[in-house]
Amino acid sequence: MASPSTDTKIENPALAEPRNEGDQNATTKTPKPISSPSVFVNSEPIRPEQVENAVKFLSHPKVRGSPVMYRRSFLEKKGLTKEEIDEAFKRVPDPSPTVQGATVNQDPQPKLVANAQLQAPAQAQQTSAAPTRGVISRVISQPRFHWTHAIYAVGILAVSGAGSAVLFKNALIPRLKSWIRKIASEDENGVVRKPGSKPSATEEAAAAAKTAAEAAAQVAKASQEMMDMNIEEKRCFRNLIDMLEVQQREMREMSFTIRKLEDQTNSSSVVRTYSQDYRLSSSKQPYTNGMAEFNSLPGRSSLPPASVNSSIPPYPKSYIEEFNDLSSNAYQHMPNSGVAPRSKPWEAGQPPNSSSTYQLQADSDLGNINGSTSRWQQKNVRIAELENEEESKVGPYYSSQAPEQTARRPWVPPQPPPVAMAEAAEAIRRPKPTVQKEQQLTGDHKLDQPLNELQSVTDISEMGGAPEARPSEIVEELEGNC
């Protein structure tokens, strides 16, 4: 092995020089042959945190049991350099602590010696230092001297046991003897034998008995306290359980109320859907229903929302507000049955649903009963179903009204229907609602206006003609009929 390395070294200077000149990476241009591959050496400093992690890893008991090769390989895979790994291995205590023990021993010794000097003369120093040294050495070299430690422990135990045995013998035997003698003496004599060791013995016995009794009393007290503690704990637990039960009840009540609310909304929406169906089946009545709703709500719209809220679940509020919107901008609302142009309502935002339901109802109420109404009906049903799911999300709809309507714009409305249908719609409009209309016309003008506007709008869309003639026609007809 030596010769080839010398060979290489001989060759190296010759090779190194041209290499150095040509090598832009060489850090030094010393005559040393080892200078050029400095690039191929890890020049990073030792990273302390990596070493710390490695030490922790190596100190783990499971890791301790694994072969050293695996530990090294693991650390290498983690990106530690050789120096860091070696440092970590140094730091982790190996099963050969002699080197470590010696180095550590030397450190505390001067300190202890210094302390001892203050206290005692030289001999004492040495004696104090020696046992401390011995203690330290014992403590430090603990892992190795387990067995001596065990021997010490055994020895101490034996000594203590022997000592206690001796003590017991010394103490008990006289006591027993005195006891026996006392009994015997009591049997024989009375209280004559007071002075001397025996009465003292009896007194001692009595004292012992007293202490025993006291001890027993203390034990009883302690047990009593334990009992009390247990009772208290039980009480606390019971309280806890009661509280939990109360909470449970409250939760149940809340769920009940939620269900009730759901049922209410279900029922109301169901009512609306039924009303729509009814509308289709009988041409007259749906309109009346719709008109009835239509009539009633404008009246309600003037009421403060609070009263509405108190009696009715949240979404009719939006219904009202939507009618307000409708009144303000009727034409825009016409083509509102715009569930179709948007992406699936169950995918995208929920806002469209509830608003669209009401508007749809309004539109259908106004009598755009064409082939498209069936489609609308389906949409209504769908939307109503969705509405049930999203009843709680009415709030944000108000703000999103405008964008919805503008979003609905692109969808081409199903109107205009053919003229024939318009006439039919007219005819449909005639009977009862006309009477109500009269009343409205004569009565509240405020309420009238939205109605008229709506009607005019529908008329426009239906006829495609001048809206102005229409109301007058209707009025004439009404008057004619009457």
Binding site: M1, P4, S5, V39, M69, K77, G79, K82
Partner: protein, 318 residues
């Protein structure tokens, strides 16, 4: 030129550094698991239409996993055998006196052999016994043994510019850079999270290293800042068996993989994959780029075929 059919499964190809039309192929029976092996020396035809001719073939008792041409003698080959031996062949000698030498020191299969291009007298063998041995052709015993890897060493590659530096790729997921003059490895690069199957140096930048791994990626490293690779090349669908830098263009690499393709990469370019050849029908385990002819590629695989073609042409074109 047409493909050359070999009787066994191909394991490695190497162009001769002396003759541009000479090629050595290491093959093994039964995919290299059990059985014999054979070393082929092929001669490429002068005209593209003619077939490849075999000029010599040497049988071995066990699979041949790798082959290397000597840089000092134009007829000497070194073969890495699966029974742990390293055999030296001389094509000038008659078959009876071949192998020239059989060096038995490794205790497990010798997976790779690489000849020192600078020093020209020594070569390395990487073995599954976790060690790398340094040999010179004239000695019957190894010069140095480098035992540090925790798992099989799959490849060893000399640095093209520094005659004493080499890199090794191992199944312990690290790549080590060694200096022959140092007792141990000088750098440990945790290159991949999985086994590293091959490593090669950039022929134009002596600090750039490419590693091929089981994790289907090739990583290009600069050993001056080896914590993070320069680039990671993804594109293979299976483990990559070999990666070789081009001797003609600094950033060009060729790789072969278990996904049966040979891919060309240029890691300086944003879209690194510059070529893909899908001519094999089995694992491609051997690939080489000729030093003497720019753009000449050779590949072999377990489909018992050796292809030699010019980059840009279809390997299967007759």
């Amino acid at each position: 030129m047409p493909a050359f059919k070999i009787p066994f499964n191909g394991y490695s190809v190497k162009f001769s550094p002396f003759y541009e039309n000479r090629l050595a192929v290491a093959t093994a029976q039964n995919f290299g698991i059990l059985g014999n092996g054979r070393v082929h020396v092929l001669s490429l035809p002068p005209s593209p239409g003619a077939p490849i001719v075999e000029t010599a073939a040497y049988d071995t008792s066990d699979a041949v996993y790798d082959i290397a041409w000597s840089e000092s003698h134009d007829s000497i080959l070194v073969a890495a055998i699966a029974d742990g031996s390293v055999k030296v062949y001389d094509t000038n000698l008659p078959p009876a006196s071949n192998p020239l030498r059989s060096l038995q020191e490794h205790t497990r299969e010798v997976h790779a052999v690489d000849y020192n291009p600078s020093r020209r007298d020594s070569f390395l063998t990487a073995s599954w016994d976790d060690s790398i041995k340094l040999w010179t052709v004239d000695r019957p015993i190894s010069v140095r043994t480098f035992k540090e890897h925790a798992y099989c060493v799959y490849a060893a590659a000399w640095n093209p510019r520094h005659a004493d530096v080499f890199a090794s790729a191992s199944g312990d997921c690290t790549v080590r850079v060694w200096d022959v003059r140092e007792p141990g490895s000088t750098m440990i690069i945790p290159a991949h999270d999985f086994e590293v199957l091959y490593t090669d140096w950039n022929k134009y930048d002596d600090c750039i290293l490419a590693t091929a791994s089981v994790d289907k990626s090739i990583r290009v490293w600069d050993i001056r800042s080896f914590r993070v690779p320069i680039t990671v090349l993804n594109g293979h669908n299976y483990a990559i068996r070999k990666v070789k830098f081009s001797p003609h263009r600094g950033s060009l690499m060729v790789s072969c993989s278990y996904d049966m393709t040979v891919c060309l990469w240029d890691y300086m370019v944003e879209d690194a994959l510059v070529g893909r050849y899908d001519h094999h029908t089995e694992f491609t385990v051997g690939v080489d780029m000729s030093v003497l002819v720019e753009g000449l590629l050779a590949s072999t695989g377990w489909d018992e075929l050796v292809y030699v073609w010019q980059h840009g042409t279809d390997p299967r074109a007759p």
